[in-house]
Symmetry: C2
Subunit: 211 residues, 2 copies
DNA sequence: GGGCCTTCATGACGCCCCGTCACGATCACA
DNA sequence: TGTGATCGTGACGGGGCGTCATGAAGGCCC
């Protein structure tokens, strides 16, 4: 190649150095591979080497990024929570009372998990159980976000003070459980499920939708 | 020893043969050992050999009874559910309406888990997480028992038909979650927790106890 | 009581996965 | 271009897992 009329590309590249880039790329590659492997083999059967093999990296490299299979799983859960948080925040921001916040948040959650389900639990062996996500930082943040959302809208409603920790735990538990059950039904009806969950929390059994 | 005046014990022993007895004894010994080991080392760290060592049996013997550590854990959970079932049945039998059944069942459950907690989670390493119990036959039976109990008392109340699967799932989820949180508080207040859970399910947030 | 068959406890063995580490390549910076 | 730091690499030792050949002991019939 002639170097006449060759202008070296000025080094205005704002991206971080190559080291930094491959680092985040590897981290992401491992995460993606783990998602696939967990989905195909099931969490229990999958090994660290199954995951790292799919990335083309060496086995030792895995341990430069995560300590164990469990930690990758936590990272996946954490990632999910991180991506869900803005959606939750959106509901919190536009909510004017307890009911609107609750309904919005639950529906947002159900739509979120339904989408997630489609995108990566593609063909999991039947009966395989995925362990419940442990308490990751982002999941704790989601909990706090819900809690603070509740505090805000209950304040708006001039509602009497209640045990916010219990209330938050209970609502999340209901959403989680009904969400799971919802995904087992065909067709997946996020709105029906959200209506059920919201009405239960808002008014108890007597307020539930009739069949 | 003289055999004068020796009356051989007539063989009226109704107990099963020795083989059968050692079999159930071993099975139970392994279960007890597992409870202890899980409690002391934590579920993740515990190995099959930790468990079997404590029984004095050989490592191979373990596999004559259980396929893996997970299966022992499931057996423990199953055992818990089996012992809880009669308590639940008692509430179901004496209940005359939805409210009395719900309150009775939740309080029975909270007292049950509080007792269990004392008896075998004696000194678990802090922060250690015990995996959520998988779906065992007895746990499914508990689910059905709750479901049928609901069906019965809702019938008594002449209440409109609702989605019983969702309702049962949601109630169990609330009980589980509030139960967990309850155990983290000192002093453990089963009645307060039961009151909260029952009121939430019966009348929604607006019916919750005020602080 | 003796002989025979069945059942099951035993612990050594091979397998596989795990986590580490010394080495070498590549990048950042001077 | 030289130098130090960073990180990918894969071979290696360690250890838990599940199996299996063996032998001991219970059950059973004569």
């Amino acid at each position: 190649m002639s170097n006449i009329a060759y202008f070296p590309k000025p080094h205005v590249d704002q991206r971080p150095g190559k080291r930094e880039r491959t680092k985040t790329a590897n981290r992401q590659a491992i995460l993606d591979a783990a998602r696939e492997v967990f989905g195909e083999l099931g969490y229990d059967v999958a090994t660290v080497r199954d995951i790292i093999r799919r990335t083309g990296l060496a086995s030792g490299t895995f341990y430069n990024y995560y300590k164990s299979k469990e930690e990758v799983f936590d990272a996946l859960a954490d990632d999910g929570a991180r991506r869900f948080r803005p959606l939750l925040r959106e509901q919190s921001d536009k909510a004017t009372d307890f009911e609107s916040f609750l309904r919005g948040a639950i529906l947002a959650y159900f739509n979120f998990v339904a989408t997630e389900q489609e995108s990566w639990r593609i063909n999991r062996p039947a009966g395989e159980q995925i362990p419940h996500a442990r308490a990751t930082p982002e999941m704790a943040a989601v909990f706090d976000e819900v809690r603070e959302g509740f505090a805000k809208v209950l304040e708006m409603d001039h509602a009497p003070k209640v045990d916010l920790d219990y209330l938050t735990s209970a609502c999340i538990a209901v959403a989680r459980e009904i969400g799971d059950k919802m995904l087992d039904r065909r067709p997946v009806d996020t709105e029906g499920a959200a209506d059920f969950a919201a009405k239960l929390i808002l008014g108890g059994v007597s307020a539930l939708p009739r069949l």
